[in-house]
């Protein structure tokens, strides 16, 4: 249990597993692609109708062109930004909000704890994607609305993890001594609880990025993401689904990209779990 009180000392001695190296690099590449991808390609919103539906490799188009003669690879690169924003930002927002709610609930008295947790139960009653769809559909399409709806959906599970971790610490000796030394609630939350909750939260949120990418792609697949001429991965799948019988690769390309991105963050989460020695949540 001393390991919990001094997380830094223990984790620094652990050797970093290969999965963290490989998938950490891949995840960084996805983030870089989101940051600089749109700068690498020109205007991808309009295409040359003479060049429509070229197969992969034809006339210098590595992944071919879509029904409007636009290069699929360029659109995938340009679409990285809204797709990754919709996957990353909700997890960051929900991580901060949910983390704060969870720690507060864990440190509160019986009534406060029950009130927060029963409220979170309500969000657990919805199938997550459907709640996100209901909110996004009401707010209207657009990346900001996707981010808002996904943030709302992700708060409850993150808060529950933070609460479980905080409850585990509650009766430990170092918490007792912090209280005895006269530390205030805020100071205990920040100095004693937060450093010990952090590893579990980081691991969980990393894996959650994978899920958020899938949800975000799903919302834009349903037409709730970026408005049509601009590319976004999920929306590209839906757009190119109509050519499934003649040019199946078209819809397959963005579908595989989302799959790989989601897999990357999930496996990075698994690697971090081993590295930071976090228990699997039940």
């Amino acid at each position: 249990m001393t390991a919990l009180a001094m997380p830094g000392l223990v984790t620094r001695r652990r050797s970093i597993p290969w999965t963290v190296w490989v998938f950490g690099t891949l995840a960084a590449l996805f983030v870089l692609l989101a940051a600089f991808g749109p700068l690498l390609v020109g205007n991808v919103d309009s295409g040359d109708l003479q060049q429509r539906l070229l197969s992969p490799g034809q006339r210098g188009h590595l992944l071919g062109t879509d029904g409007q003669g636009r290069d699929v690879l360029e659109r995938l690169i340009a679409g990285a930004r809204p797709s990754m924003i919709a996957g990353l930002v909700p997890v960051l927002v929900a991580g901060a909000v949910g983390g704060a709610i969870g720690i507060t609930a864990g440190l509160s008295g019986r009534r406060g704890h029950a009130l927060v947790m029963r409220t979170l139960d309500v969000f657990y009653a919805f199938p997550a994607v459907l709640l996100a769809i209901a909110i996004a559909a009401a707010l209207g399409s657009g990346t900001l609305n996707t981010v808002i709806s996904l943030s709302v959906v992700l708060v409850a599970p993150i808060a529950r993890i933070a609460e479980t971790e905080t409850m585990r610490l509650r009766d430990m000796d170092f918490m007792e001594s912090a209280r005895a030394s006269g530390a205030g609630r805020l100071s205990i939350a920040y100095r004693q609880v937060w450093p010990n909750v952090r590893p579990a939260l980081i691991v969980y949120c990393t894996a959650l990025v994978g899920l958020a990418l899938v949800f975000a792609g799903g919302l834009s697949f349903l037409g709730l993401g970026v408005a049509p001429p601009h590319p976004e991965w999920g929306q590209m799948i839906n757009e190119q689904r109509q050519y499934m019988f003649t040019n199946p690769e078209l819809a397959l390309a963005p579908a595989v990209v989302i799959f790989v991105a989601s897999l990357t963050f999930n496996l990075l989460g698994d690697g971090l779990r081993d590295l930071l020695d976090v228990r699997r949540p039940r």
Binding site: V122, A134, A138, V256
Partner: protein, 314 residues
Amino acid sequence: MTRFLLRRLLFVVPVLFGVSVIVFGTVKIIPGDPVALLAGPGASESAKDALRSRLGLDRALPIQYWHWLTSALRGDLGTSIAHQQPTRPLVLDAFDNTLILTLYATVLALVLGLTLGAVAALRPRGIAGRICSGITSIAVSAPQYSIALIFIIYLALRTGWFPVSGMHGVNGSGLGDLLWHGFLPALTAALVPAGVIGRIFRAALLDVLGMDFVEALRSRGFSDRRVLLHAVHNTLPSLLTMAGLQVGYLLGGVVFVETIFNWPGLGLLLFQSISSRDLPVIQAGVLISALAFVLINVLVDSAHALIDSRVRTA
């Protein structure tokens, strides 16, 4: 047992109250003035005010909520804008087909997940175990729409093994036809839950197999199969709870699966309603799904209590 069930049902009431508040809330966050939209651009202020009071939108929010809730409890879930008919029969008819798909997917997820998890736990260092463990890791990140496309292209279009879309063939009828048409959609929906169940089952089985009582059974000369049977029995509680939660993932995921496979369920209805901005249908659909999800978890908890007497008295 009856007392447990009653207490559990009582616990559901505040949750359902919260669910209704949130669904009502999604109506209220729609940007813009709904009255201006309904009345049209040329409407006078007095005409708008009349419409507002006819719709009850001039009252306080809690009163509006109360009216919405009482009519919802009477079965009136509003009128579909696109179909110009009450949403309830529309949503309930579609939900029947979704339940068929969800049930099919649950069965596939359990069979797949338990097999993968068992092999991974019993052969932790063997090749088969590693492959099964790897499949569960990949399966949990699989987006349904990606998998659906891959299945359609490689298992339906290229090979002709399965139909591309729909629920029944032109001349087909009966259970066999339904199972054949539903196989790819159900398998697509089942993949993530199968991965999650596989991981949980593997971890739980490894836990139990390391316990003293397993050693004791072995030393008393029990065969491997009987030892495994006792071990599996001990993993059931955690497995049940997890499987119940996965149904929520299935009910959400069907939106994508049904849209791509053209399965005439709630998911396809929601997809169509999004493009026509038919919000009453979306809200009714989400409400029904949440109700079903809550109900299923009550059933799961009851099953849990039946297996494990400690839960009943806790």
